[in-house]
């Protein structure tokens, strides 16, 4: 909207000058192009834009914006909850994660060794928190779950688009590989101010505040007898 205020006066001046000069030339002599041709042009153009509108809706449907994440306070609340959970995990206890985090992917490995090393992850771009829980029994299996909170950019939920890491167990070492980098380009489109004037969704720049990049962690469950070493936090 603000951009409009800067452009409009300049445009008005330009068009005033152009308009008045075209008026001067048009009023004296009339146009000579055939009316039939003009009718085809007008009719053709209307057909094209109607078809384009239909295609625009069918091939590129709107990405719905979840109404629960529409407000700044909601986003703030969620971010606080994320931090609280992770902090408590660091302190050794895990809260109920379900409200904020969703389990994105789970791996199960059969494991019968006594020790497990989780090496320090020195990858710059990917270092999730790792929490380990000792299971009450020895069932010879290691379960790894990747938890993620909602990731929102400009009001749009991208949780689905963000990938999970690769987990591999080799001998006595559990390795975490960074997920494939994901790059999303998207267009924000609105029909214009007259169309937003009567609806809730104000203008597209105001949604910029509605961004949270979310957090993630790995929860590793090991058999009772397995001793884990490396970069992680034990939780009970």
């Amino acid at each position: 909207m603000t951009a409009l205020f800067f452009v409009l006066p300049i445009l008005v001046i330009i068009v005033l000058v152009v308009g008045i000069s075209t008026y001067a030339s048009k009023s004296s002599e009339k146009r000579h192009s055939s009316p039939q041709k003009k009718k085809w042009i007008v009719g053709g153009y209307v057909t094209v834009i109607v078809v384009a509108t239909v295609l625009s809706y069918t091939f590129f449907p709107a990405k719905k914006i979840d109404s629960t994440i529409m407000h700044r306070e909601e986003v703030k609340k969620q971010e606080d909850a994320e931090i609280a959970i992770i902090n408590s995990g660091m302190a050794g206890k895990l809260l109920e994660v379900e409200r904020v985090f969703t389990d994105k992917k789970t791996w199960t490995f059969s494991y019968n060794k006594r020790d497990l090393l989780i090496p320090n992850n020195d990858m710059q771009e990917y270092s999730p928190n790792v929490f380990v829980i000792s299971k009450p029994v020895d069932d010879n299996s290691v379960e790894v779950t990747h938890y993620m909170s909602k990731m929102i950019v400009g009001g749009i939920d991208f949780t689905e688009e963000k990938g999970s890491p690769e987990i591999l167990i080799n001998e006595e070492t559990l390795k975490i590989y960074a997920p494939e980098p994901v790059e999303v380009t998207f267009n924000k489109f609105t029909e214009g101010f007259a169309f937003n004037q009567f609806s809730e969704s104000k203008d597209m720049y105001s949604l910029n505040n509605l961004s949270t990049h979310g957090s993630e962690f790995l929860l590793i469950k090991v058999p009772k007898s397995v001793k884990v070493s490396g970069a992680f936090n034990y939780v009970k």
């Binding site: 006066p9 007008v42 384009a52 509108t53 809706y57 709107a62 980098p181 999303v184 380009t185 004037q197």
Partner: protein
């Protein structure tokens, strides 16, 4: 000899039908300006981006604002052109007086504005289609309900109609005295300069806000109609003693 008795409203309707058929040039200029607006809009009005870890994103902002603004200016120019001799002479070839001619012009401009409002919606989707084809991973935000779309089309038409009323008055002033075509732009530019002296376009801003902040369609209709009919009324009064084919 028996004289024909005529009813003004009847003549207005006939003139309106005649104008819908005959002012074809108005609609071809609409297309030209709209295509131009789409072309100018293709750069997008903004861009932003960021990344977190292995996730990065880029947002392009596209809006139909410019199309609507161009259509408002189109309405302004169209109204000026309709007040010129060539168009007024066409009226006098058939039954008319000044008042029926004005009323049929206003009816025509209302229809043309609403049509233009509809094309703003449709062409903005043509524009969206083009941008989507250019950037394959694209997402639309702000989906409006059919009712919101209908309201938006009427709203767009109203803004365009507001500008036709300004154009009509300006055109009539110029018909009265050619000096206005020189004088009016100077006054306007001067006013804007004065308005923007303290680095804020206060008057311009508050005028815009008067209309733009209205979230009820019914109130917007009342606001725009009363202002534009004021301009039209002024133009009609101005032309009362004007001669045709002088």
């Amino acid at each position: 000899m028996s004289l024909v008795e005529v009813n003004s409203w009847d003549i207005v309707k006939k003139q309106y039908r005649y104008k819908l058929k005959s002012y074809l040039g108005v609609f071809s200029s609409l297309i030209i300006i709209q295509v131009l607006a789409i072309f100018f809009s293709l750069n997008g009005t903004g861009m932003s981006g960021g990344s977190s870890g292995t996730f990065s994103y880029k947002v392009n902002y596209y809006s139909g604002d410019l199309i609507l603004v161009f259509m408002m200016l189109w309405g302004f120019i169209t109204a000026i052109i309709i007040t010129t001799k060539a168009y007024r002479y066409d009226d006098t070839s058939f039954v008319t007086n000044r008042l029926t001619s004005h009323f049929s012009n206003i009816l025509f401009l209302i229809s043309a504005s609403l049509f233009a409002g509809l094309t703003v919606f449709l062409s903005s989707h043509l524009f969206r289609l083009i941008t989507n084809i250019m950037n394959v991973d694209s997402i639309m935000v702000n989906e409006h309900t059919p009712l919101q779309i209908a309201k938006g089309i009427i709203g767009a038409g109203l803004y365009i109609f507001l500008f036709t009323s300004i154009g009509y008055l300006v055109g009539m002033l110029i018909q009265k005295n050619k000096l206005f075509s020189f004088f009016l732009p100077i006054v306007l530019v001067g006013a804007m300069y004065l308005d923007g002296m303290n680095n804020d376009v206060l008057i311009f801003h508050s005028i815009s806000l008067y209309f733009l902040s209205e979230t009820l369609l019914s109130l917007l209709i009342i606001k725009i109609m009363s202002v534009s009919l004021l301009f039209y009324g002024f133009a009609i009064i101005l032309s009362a003693r004007m001669e045709v084919r002088a």
